[in-house]
């Protein structure tokens, strides 16, 4: 008996398109933006949009990985401020607000990433080993990690930073801000890693059906732990980029980002239920959010009404991605 290979090609195409349901939204935004302000389509402005989204995009990347693996991490936003702040305090002298340990300045980025990873380890420990609810563990960690920044800094902004931590967020490489390159490379790695490597595919298996993944020989706990650690590290890197862009570490760095991060990931097609979505989709989500913010700023929409416009655009993007995607969301 032969198999009924009913038109396999259209299906491939459709599946590919599903990552790109936001592309029409992006196109509409580009057209609308160009219409509203001639500056909008200039290279300078678009570069700004990308630079402004670079650090939050790393958070979206991290969250997308964690969501695809079927978990949840709210604490990422606190890591964005805390990891660089503590790393800097380990390095700068006490007179500048540091701990006065006198560690060498170039260590600051490795220290920062290490702190991010350590937060991931702790999250993983509670969620995987202790089997606690990921939502609440990371909610508590969101509060705790932010407190671990507020406590030592006493809520002060750190102004005197080692040059090394400022470099990545402010340097220009080949005419574009380094932050854009870094985000681009990491997203490319994410797309390839999740599309073409066994480890990456195992995230989908785990998020889709953890028992089945375990039965298929995937070391579920180990992979999940790795994802949390990677997530924390990416958040710390986002903190480094943000620090360089702003030139100081305020006590509110990263605070309130996590909602936007989820919005970007989900309108980009990543499911909150795990196992579904792609990194490319998440990237389109980031772009939509960045373009909307840019247009609202360019138009100078009143601060009071900005949230309404903004929220409505998220809803519209969601509806478009629902219609284009064809499936109920969850």
């Amino acid at each position: 008996m032969t198999t009924t290979l009913t038109a396999p090609t259209p299906r491939v195409r459709l599946a590919r398109f599903r990552d790109l349901t936001l592309v029409p939204v992006i196109l509409i935004l580009l057209v609308v933006g160009a219409f509203l302000d001639p500056i909008f389509l200039s290279v300078g402005n678009l570069t700004n949009v990308l630079q402004q989204q670079a650090s939050i995009s790393l958070l979206v990347l991290a969250e997308a990985l964690i969501l695809i693996a079927g978990k949840f991490d709210l604490s990422l936003e606190s890591t964005v401020g805390m990891a660089p702040a503590i790393a800097v305090m380990l390095v700068i002298p006490a007179s500048a607000g540091g701990f006065g340990l006198g560690l060498p300045g170039p260590l600051v980025i490795p220290l920062c990433l290490l702190i991010g990873a350590a937060i991931g380890v702790f999250n993983g420990f509670l969620i995987i080993k202790f089997q606690l609810s990921a939502f609440i563990v990371t909610l508590a960690m969101l509060i705790i990690v932010h407190g671990l920044q507020l406590g030592p800094t006493e809520g002060k902004t750190l102004f005197e930073l080692p040059d090394s931590i400022l470099y990545l967020g402010s340097a220009i490489w080949l005419g574009l801000p380094a932050a854009i390159w870094i985000a681009a490379v990491l997203f490319a790695a994410g797309i390839v890693g999740l599309g073409y490597f066994r480890l990456g595919r195992s995230l989908y298996a785990i998020g889709g059906n953890a028992d089945a993944a375990r039965a298929a020989g995937i070391r579920v706990d180990r992979v999940l732990w790795g994802v949390f650690i990677l997530g924390g590290t990416l958040a710390a890197l986002a903190g480094v980029l943000e620090t360089g862009r702003l030139g100081a570490i305020g006590s509110n760095q990263g605070v309130g980002w996590i909602f936007m991060v989820f919005a970007a990931a989900v309108i980009g097609g990543v499911s909150m239920d795990g196992g579904k979505g792609t990194i490319l989709g998440a990237l389109t989500g980031v772009l939509v959010i960045g373009l909307v913010q840019n247009i609202l700023t360019l138009k100078g929409v009143s601060g009071f009404w900005q949230p309404v416009v903004y929220g409505c655009i998220i809803l519209i993007a969601l509806i478009i991605s629902r219609i284009a995607g064809g499936k109920a969301q969850d």
Binding site: D37, I39, S42, G44, N45, N48, Q51, Q52, S95, L150, E154, G155, K156, T157, F159, S170, E242, R245, L246, G247, A248, G250, S251, N252, Q253, V255, G256, Q293, N294, T297, L298, G300, S302, G303, F304, Q306
Partner: protein, 321 residues
């Protein structure tokens, strides 16, 4: 008033104090001054509570403080309307209240200790207006519009520009006191209007570094003598702003007196417990007491700091550390 009652000895006049937030440089300086000033003024201070910018917490904290026996309360309600019921309750209990920084719209207060936030906006506007010669474009990096101080600064700046410098275009950016938003909005605005010549930031603590970073990236961080210079007026008076003024990165800041806030908050709280009363009119510390419908307000001086007076020892920003 019945001025000279006996100075309270050890008779128990505990002062409860609630701090509004722990995440801004200005308030942190204030928080640091409090115990120091309490020592100087010999105020019996209870452990401070912190309402983390949440009026619900403030109400809960005040309840706890009075429960623990506070005879006077010092608070800095960032949401001045929602505190009305609490003030009423305290008035019923005959517990005097000193509010710092903000003026409650309703409910009895013993004294409001604040500088005039509208004056900040006006001072910044006048400085920028003169520097720009009455024409050009300026950006106002606004704080949160749901905070009265942010609104007062924004409105005063806007009105002053409209009346005194109609030739100047003002762009308003709702940054919500967030450095990240400030940087993005300023960057976008400068892209759109490269001829912007002035910036007023509502809070040096969060806006200073991002603004400088954006200006640097655009190559606009040049001395005032350079034609490309963008005039920047900040607000708060933290040491880093003074540093930036000395370097010529920014041009002025309005020094919001954190030390005087702490000092006179405690001063009036103690005075209230001691049964002293005050009348509208000038005071012995360069300020004026004015009458409000629901109490009195001591309007402390908030000097504009420029290159000329940045090294003044009396500025609180020069006293920290």
């Amino acid at each position: 008033g019945s001025g000279g009652q006996t100075e309270a000895g050890g008779g128990g006049g505990k002062v409860g104090i609630d701090h509004p937030r722990a995440d801004s440089d200005f308030w942190n300086s204030y928080i640091k001054y409090v115990p120091q000033m309490a020592g100087e003024l010999k105020v019996d201070l209870m452990p401070a509570t912190n309402s983390q910018n949440d009026v619900t917490k403030l109400v809960n904290n005040v309840q706890a403080l009075t429960g623990q026996g506070a005879k006077a309360i010092v608070m800095a309600p960032q949401d001045t309307g929602a505190i009305a019921t609490t003030l009423q309750t305290l008035a019923n209990k005959k517990i005097p209240v000193v509010t710092v920084d903000t003026r409650p719209d309703k409910g009895q207060v013993y004294m409001v200790v604040r500088a005039d936030n509208r004056a900040y906006g006006t001072k910044a506007c006048e400085f920028l207006g003169e520097k720009l010669g009455g024409k050009g474009k300026v950006v106002q990096l606004m704080g949160s519009l749901s905070s009265i101080n942010g609104r007062d600064r924004a409105e005063a700046f806007r009105e002053c520009m409209k009346t005194k410098f109609p030739g100047i275009t003002v762009f308003e950016e709702p940054t919500e006191w967030e450095g990240s938003k400030a940087a993005s909005m300023l960057q976008t605005r400068l892209e759109q209007n490269p001829d912007i010549k002035g910036i007023y930031m509502h809070a040096g603590g969060v806006h200073l570094a991002p603004t400088l970073q954006v200006l640097k990236q655009k190559g606009l961080l040049v001395p005032p003598t350079d034609a490309k210079h963008v005039f920047v007026v900040s607000n708060d008076g933290i040491p880093q702003e003074f540093e930036a003024i000395r370097k010529g990165d920014i041009d002025a800041t309005v020094s919001q007196p954190a030390d005087l806030y702490a000092k006179y908050a405690l001063f009036y709280a103690k005075a209230a417990i001691d049964g002293k009363t005050f009348k509208p009119g000038p005071t012995d510390h360069d300020s004026t007491i004015i009458q409000l419908p629901n109490g009195l307000e001591d309007q402390l001086p908030a000097p504009l700091v420029t290159k000329d007076n940045v090294d003044d020892k009396n500025l609180w920003g020069n006293q920290v550390k």
